[in-house]
């Protein structure tokens, strides 16, 4: 894959495109409006983002983003490496707060509640969201304790409640049949794909309003990837899901809506079918057909 800001990439992209293409304007740092398909605006928004900017120290990583996550749908964020997909995703549950130099402006709302207003209790906010990471990261504890972690930290002590929540989440993550006989075993004994599904179970155990997935299928095992994709289809409707991926086949297979990001900006955002079949921008078409990126 070519680096988007490497000189050769610019040269190639530039040679095919008209002078002053949208991408060139982005590279030049000019403000570029997001093309959002009307079908998206008709959806019931679960999470709304307006004029969102983010800086890592002096370097701006997200530019003036406007975005909505439709409720009950799977929304995919695609784009070349380093375009800000993961940063945007991590901004949604304020995990970027952990990085000292991060500074943000703009607004984000989860079901109408501000995410970045002063005085927001970040802990309470994160409890309303589930997150799945690129690398499976189960805690070094038993399978069942991993799943009920969110309930435990909320002070739940009733063994029966915990057990039921664990079973529900594991069934939801299609892992129950594989682990029901070894719930007390260490989660680290599971295979990579199982670990990732365990992380999904952990994320859905506390009934989050939105599920954030940061390249959850980057494991090289195609069977494991397939199972997680199947799982996402099962979860569709019950959960609002945002998934970051750089695998365009995956985005087209699994998601309802897709946003194409480039250099910290959302370039085009629309229903997946529309975006992949008839993109409104040539730049999007170039990216999804693999002509750059």
């Amino acid at each position: 894959m070519l680096e988007p800001n490497a000189p050769t990439a610019i040269g190639k992209a530039g040679s095919d495109a008209k002078p002053r293409s949208r991408l060139q304007r982005i590279q030049a740092g000019e403000p570029v409006e997001t093309i959002t398909h009307e079908a998206i605006l008709a959806e019931d928004p679960c999470l709304q983002i307006e004029r969102f900017n983010l800086w890592y120290g002096p370097k701006q990583a997200l530019h003036d983003n406007a975005f909505v996550v439709p409720r009950g749908k799977i929304t995919a964020l695609i784009g070349p490496s380093g375009c800000g997909k993961s940063t945007l995703l991590r901004s949604m549950n304020r995990l970027n707060d952990l990085i000292d130099s991060v500074r943000v402006t703009g607004e984000m709302r989860l079901n109408g509640d501000p995410i970045y207003a002063p005085g927001v209790d970040v802990i309470e906010l994160r409890k309303r969201m589930g997150m799945v990471f690129q690398k499976p990261n189960p805690f070094p504890m038993s399978i069942v304790e991993n799943v009920v972690y969110a309930l435990r930290i909320d002070g739940e002590r009733d063994r029966r409640v915990l057990r039921e929540a664990a079973e529900r989440a594991l069934r939801g993550a299609a892992l129950w049949d594989e682990v029901k006989d070894r719930l007390e075993d260490s989660a680290l004994g599971l295979s990579g794909g199982q670990q990732q599904r365990l992380c999904i179970a952990r994320a859905i155990a506390a009934d989050p309003e939105i599920l954030l997935m940061d390249e959850p299928c980057s494991a090289p095992d195609p069977i494991a990837t397939g199972r997680i994709e199947d799982l996402m289809q099962d979860l569709r409707g019950d959960y609002t899901i945002v998934i970051v991926t750089h695998n365009m086949q995956q985005a087209s297979r699994t998601s309802d809506c897709t946003a194409f990001m480039y250099l910290g900006r959302i370039v085009e955002f629309g229903p997946t079918a529309d975006l992949f079949q008839k993109p409104r921008l040539k730049e999007t078409e170039d990216y999804i057909t693999g002509r750059f990126g």
Partner: protein, 869 residues
């Protein structure tokens, strides 16, 4: 295809690394082997060699006492005829006979020996005694006086030279041993009656002599000047005789000994009756007790000796058994508060009357010989049998002697004398005396005691390593008690909560603490901190409670702040924590005196000592001890039953209200803790009184000679509190650095996962980061433990150095390491003391080795659990 230089570098690196690793292993093993090599001699058994005989026929059946010189060249025998016979040990050749009776004068009837100086007192048939010393003067011959006969001598070869005996030494010199016999003027004791038993005890300038006459009279007399060692010294001046009113019904005592610096006169009869007279005031002897030292029908007392030091009596009986007796404190004795008891007993010897006893002039070795010709050498304190042998033809042993350097045993039978080389090695160090309770002289019970040296040469070495091991444990426990929580909490705070920029500054500062030389810390502790702390004991005790309370209170107040302020002012938390610390210390200073008044009757040091009626109530100690468990119990109860209710209420109210509710919970919990601790303390303290026992007072030291685990007791300026604090200071940086590294190395994605689940940073730290880093935290603590165990300078300077066995927080101790550092420079090379110190080092080595092995094993277990992260 690799290049030649790469291959060369590879090979060189491999060789160097292998060599380095092997060298390390070999070095550690070498240290172990060296320590072991020095120590192993401690446990070798004593040896007695083949006898050398000195002619036959002479000196006949009449020898009363015999001896041998320092170089084992001259043997002397004092016969009942009053003739002192000197003979060359190598050849049996006579060196002359010196009469110790006046021609035509009274016969020699009894001989007594002073246990510390080895000088004698002779008793005669006319009731007089004469002080006497038998010794040798050593001279080295000048080269010009040596004649050809001497020059031809082989090394160790001997030849009569003038009055003495010349010997060629290993270095080629000629050493002459000249017998020196001093005999004082006769002094009347029991005039007109033959003396049956006589004893002397010489200390400083005074010599007490006791003599018993055949008519049953017993008389004491004091000579106010030392008896002459050499002829030219002036004779002693004698005080008035003072009679001892022993009942004459038993007849004349057969044995007499003066023990305990001449303060006890022991008279014994053959039927086993023993009378102990308190004669500290020679003019007014009082009968302290009468006992039977040869119980059993038909058992008779056949000999009575006095061990080096003049404290332990050695009784030899007709059934072959030997006992060691000394006085111990016994309040039921109204005369002098002591009682003589048989502390050591040597059974299993041949059943034949013990007729001869010899004591060593260097250590507590003694030898006995019996009527069946069997002789034994034994060590009194450890009851170890060192050697045994049978004299030729099973002749009854008439006299036995141990050479001045304890390197030979002389036995005299009717058919002659024989000398056996003797190697006692290290009889005072047995496994039992090094690690078990040993009954030392004058102690009321067996104890674990370390006392390797004393002001006199005839002291009893006490070489129990247990107090030193105990001291090491005490130092370790108290310093770890302080260091582990502080260091771990600091590490967790730094790794999980501190801003990266602050952390970059704070961590090197803490690590700088580690670079302080421990001698400086020890010096500060002993000279600065200990005196300062002495003045603020109540404040210190109070601070232990107020500082954590201040922190918790601060945290609760913070929680009660409105969210907008709390979030925005978050960077101020660290400085505010410092304020909480200052407030806690300030509160301690303010209420310390109040606490002292309320709990310790106004004087904590007096209370700690606990011997004054005003501070009789011991329950405050329990109160302090039970505070932490009470706090835990209350916290557990609150978390279980109060917090969920507050959480329900808080869900319906603002952060501020919830914070106030928690604050109220905290205040209530604090009061509940104090109340619970107070109640529990009263109950525990008073519980034994139900059964009419004295109350359970932690300050009262147990008197059974074992260890005392109470943390309270008499206050010393250099105490465990100081050492705990300063040594804690020394090991905090190590634990802190390693723990912080372990926490930082927990993968970031685990933290992200936990935070993503909505956990607070604190929950993340406690539930995910700490369990994941557990192996590292454990190793950090173990490394700290290793340092605490081996730490020397701080304890050497600040711990006082008393080898006591109590956990009293306010008293000192002596550790293995400090003991080695103090005593090794002054220990005689290859002596028992020297080897015992090496054993202490070996124990220290083993302890550290075990700690590290356990640490590694546990660490591996933890690590296995946390693999593939």
């Amino acid at each position: 295809m690799r290049r030649r230089s790469t291959r060369l570098a590879d090979a060189a690196a491999r060789t160097l690394i292998t060599l380095g690793g092997l060298t390390t292993i070999v070095a550690v093993l070498a240290v172990f082997v060296f320590l072991f090599w020095v120590v192993k001699d401690l446990f070798l058994s004593a040896e007695v060699g083949e006898p050398k005989r000195l002619g036959t026929g002479e000196p006949g059946a009449s020898v009363l006492v015999a001896g041998i010189d320092e170089y084992r060249t001259i043997v002397w025998m004092l016969g009942a005829d009053g003739a002192l016979t000197l003979r060359v040990a190598h050849t049996g050749e006579s060196l002359g006979v010196r009469p110790l009776v006046v021609d035509g004068g009274p016969r020699l009837t009894a001989v007594g020996k002073d246990a510390s100086s080895g000088r004698f007192v002779l008793g005669y048939a006319d009731g007089t005694v004469r002080l006497c010393s038998i010794g040798f003067r050593t001279e080295f011959l000048e080269a010009d006086v040596v004649d050809a006969g001497l020059r031809e001598l082989a090394v160790d070869g001997v030849r009569v030279w003038g009055d003495g005996l010349a010997q060629r030494t290993v270095r080629g010199q000629f050493r002459v041993q000249i017998p020196q016999v001093a005999l004082d003027e006769p002094v009347a004791m029991v005039a007109g009656s033959a003396i049956t038993a006589v004893a002397r005890s010489t200390h400083d300038d005074a010599t007490v002599v006791a003599a018993a006459g055949a008519d049953g009279r017993v008389v004491l007399r004091v000579a106010t000047k030392a008896s002459p060692m050499f002829e030219e010294e002036p004779a002693a001046e004698w005080g008035e005789p003072s009679p001892v009113a022993t009942g004459s019904a038993r007849g004349a005592p057969r044995f007499a000994q003066l023990t305990d610096l001449g303060s006890n006169l022991v008279l014994a009869w053959t039927d086993g009756t023993l009378e102990r007279w308190a004669v500290r005031d020679v003019r007014a002897p009082r009968l302290a007790e009468t006992l039977d030292v040869a119980p059993g029908s038909g058992v008779e007392l056949t000999s009575l000796g006095l061990l080096l030091g003049g404290v332990t009596l050695i009784s030899g009986r007709s059934d072959g058994s030997v006992g060691g007796w000394f006085v111990t404190a016994n309040p039921t004795n109204e005369v002098d508060g002591y009682a003589l008891r048989e502390v050591h007993r040597f059974d299993g010897l041949e059943r034949s009357p013990v007729v001869a006893i010899a004591t060593s002039a260097r250590e507590r070795i003694f030898a006995v010989g019996n009527a069946a010709g069997r002789a034994y050498a034994m060590y009194m304190t450890s009851e170890k049998r060192l050697a045994e042998f049978t004299v030729r033809d099973h002749e009854p042993v008439l006299a036995i002697a141990i050479a001045p350097k304890s390197d030979a045993i002389l036995t005299i039978t009717a058919r002659g004398a024989s000398i056996r080389p003797f190697t006692p090695r290290h009889p005072e160090a047995t496994f039992g005396s090094l690690f078990g309770a040993t009954w030392y002289e004058r102690m009321p019970h067996p104890t674990h005691t370390w006392q390797s040296s004393a002001g006199t040469d005839d002291f009893e070495p006490k070489l129990s390593l247990v107090p030193l091991i105990f001291g090491t444990v005490k130092a370790t426990v108290y310093s770890m008690l302080l260091a582990v929580p502080l260091a771990l909490f600091a590490a967790i705070y730094t790794a999980e909560f501190l801003h990266a920029r602050t952390k970059a500054r704070i961590k090197p500062i803490v690590e700088l603490m580690a670079s302080l030389p421990s001698v400086v810390l020890g010096f500060l502790a002993a000279i600065v901190i200990a005196p300062a702390a002495e003045a603020v004991v109540p404040e210190l005790v109070t601070a232990v409670i107020t500082v954590p309370v201040a922190f918790l209170l601060g945290a609760h107040v913070w929680q009660a702040l409105p969210n907008s302020i709390a979030v925005r002012r978050a960077p101020w938390r660290l400085p505010l924590a410092a304020v909480a610390l200052a407030l806690g210390i300030g509160a301690a200073a303010a209420i310390g005196p109040v606490v002292e008044d309320l709990l310790f009757a106004g004087d904590v040091r007096l209370w700690l000592d606990g011997r004054v009626p005003a501070v009789a109530d011991g329950s405050p100690g329990w109160f302090l001890l039970l505070l932490p468990p009470s706090a835990l119990a209350v916290a557990w109860f609150a978390a279980r039953h109060v917090t969920p209710r507050i959480a329900l209420r808080a869900a319906r109210s603002t952060r501020g209200v919830a914070g106030l509710l928690h604050l109220a919970k905290f205040a209530g919990g604090l009061l509940a803790t104090i109340g619970l601790a107070y109640l529990a303390a009263r109950i525990v303290y008073q519980a034994p009184t139900i059964l009419d026992h004295p109350p359970f007072d932690l300050r009262v030291a147990s008197d059974d000679g074992g260890m005392n685990l109470s943390p309270f007791g008499t206050f010393d300026q250099r105490n465990s509190l100081i050492v705990g604090f300063v040594m804690g200071f020394a090991i905090i940086p190590i634990i802190y650095t390693l723990a912080e590294d372990a926490l930082t190395s927990v993968p970031q994605h685990l933290r992200a996962a936990s935070l993503g689940c909505g956990a607070t940073p604190w929950q993340t730290a406690v539930r995910v980061v700490v369990p994941t880093a557990m192996s590292g935290l454990f190793s950090a603590c173990m490394v700290g433990l290793g340092r605490a165990v081996g730490e020397t300078m701080i304890v050497l300077m600040a711990a006082g150095g008393t080898a006591v066995m109590d956990m009293n927080l306010f008293s000192g101790f002596r550790t293995l390491s400090a003991n080695i550092a103090t005593e090794l420079p002054e220990a005689v090379r290859d002596s028992t003391h020297y080897r015992t110190l090496f054993l202490a080092a070996l124990v220290l080595f083993a302890v550290t080795f075990v700690i590290n092995s356990v640490a590694e094993a546990v660490r591996q277990r933890f690590r296995k659990r946390a693999y593939q992260l």
